[in-house]
Amino acid sequence: MTNPNTDHLHGALDLLVLKTLDTLGPLNGWDIANRIQQISEDVLTLNQGSLYPALQRLLTKRWVASEWGTSENNRRARFYRITASGRKQLAKETQEWERFTAAVVRILQTN
């Protein structure tokens, strides 16, 4: 995840963000970065800065919405939540991702 500059990795990061928001509800950017790292057991070490272009991309596509609120340490922070069309996109991309990984696994398992 250190160089999310190809389309494919864009897609992967988008997918992870959508999934995180879908599971955990509204979160701010810092939370999202940490959850992804945490849940992946530090396998996916996010270059945290690259999260923000991804969030902006999802905002532009209206897959997430954002509003300003108060963080758990009582400061103004921006919270993101997934939208209905974001959920649709999540379902679609999850399916594609599974097909893709299954195909890669099949190829790796051939002798």
């Binding site: 701010n28 950017g29 810092w30 970065a33 270059n47 945290q48 800065g49 690259s50 923000y52 272009p53 991804a54 969030l55 902006q56 991309r57 905002l59 532009t60 596509k61 209206r62 300003w68 963080s71 340490n73 400061r75 103004r76 922070a77 921006r78």
Partner: protein, 289 residues
């Protein structure tokens, strides 16, 4: 797709607000990460540095976010425009010269086109306009290609050239029109009685000239162009029979031309062409058809 487009358009108009929010958001992120590092036991300096390191380039992240946000090409055009306006404002002399040059060129273009349009592109406003010709005298040995014809020429051609179904003579000039004290110089045309029949368009009201009105004693009549009738006589509906003074002579108005008639003419149209005693019509002389 459409909603995304609207979002991008909207982002164009809220750029500074969105930039501010982005700054604040990333600032929050770095502070939060620093706090977390402090909690893990780092000293303040390391905590800050480590937060920056795991964030990656802040400027790069901002730049990429902007790219995702709006209509980059439009934003670039907008920036270019603003830059252009600023540089123009810095060089008023150059700006003035450039603007004046452009204005002059546009004006000249417009004028030329208007003339070309009315002379070359539009057909003459007469029926069978493609059959109308202007007849000139030429004197090759004297090197004169086009000259007017004399009255004798005109009558000769009228009687003897079968190629023309109709022939008329005219002469352009100017005359002083109006009573003493309120006169104006107007363009006029002196024409032979067949003039209107030759062109195929006559006065909209009133009548054309007759042969009797070509004599010196009986030529006290005039036909007005539509523009002159409107501008100087208030489009008087009872204009027929009114007297106007042309070069000091009383003339009775016997007709008014339709608005479409020869837009090049502004003044009256007068009979007969033959006010000059020697009959030397010097200007292009004869319309044939």
């Amino acid at each position: 797709m459409l909603r995304e487009f609207f979002y991008r358009i909207g982002a164009l108009f809220h750029r500074s607000k969105l930039d501010r929010e982005m700054d604040e958001e990333m600032q929050y992120h770095l502070e939060r990460e620093t706090e977390e590092n402090l909690r893990r036991g780092m000293n303040p300096e390391d905590a800050r540095r480590s937060a920056l390191r795991s964030f990656g380039g802040v400027l790069k992240a901002k730049e990429q976010s902007r790219d995702e946000r709006g209509l980059r090409p439009l934003e670039d055009i907008w920036m270019d425009l603003r830059y252009g306006v600023r540089s123009l404002r810095k060089n008023p002399g150059f700006t003035l010269t450039a603007v004046l040059t452009l204005a002059l060129c546009l004006g000249a273009n417009l004028t030329i086109f208007a003339v070309v349009d009315s002379i070359l592109l539009r057909p003459l406003p007469f029926p069978d306009a493609d059959q109308l010709v202007t007849v000139f005298n030429t004197y090759p040995k004297a090197g004169v290609e086009r000259d007017g014809s004399s009255l004798t020429n005109y009558y000769e051609r009228r009687g003897n050239v079968n190629a023309f179904s109709e022939l008329a003579a005219y002469r352009e000039g100017t005359a002083i029109i109006g009573e003493a004290g309120s006169t104006e110089r107007e363009q006029i045309m002196r024409v032979s009685p067949e003039f209107f029949a030759t062109l195929g368009v006559g006065p909209a009201t009133g009548r054309a000239f007759t042969d009797e009105e070509t004599a010196y004693q009986t030529d006290g009549v005039a036909i007005l162009t539509n523009a002159y009738w409107r501008q100087h006589l208030g489009a008087d509906p009872n204009v027929l029979g009114r007297e106007i003074r042309v070069d000091g002579f009383q003339k009775k108005v016997i007709g008014v031309l339709p608005p479409s008639f020869l837009p090049l003419l502004t003044g009256t149209a007068l009979p007969p062409p033959f006010v000059q005693p020697r009959g030397s019509l010097t200007r292009p002389a004869t319309y044939g058809k």
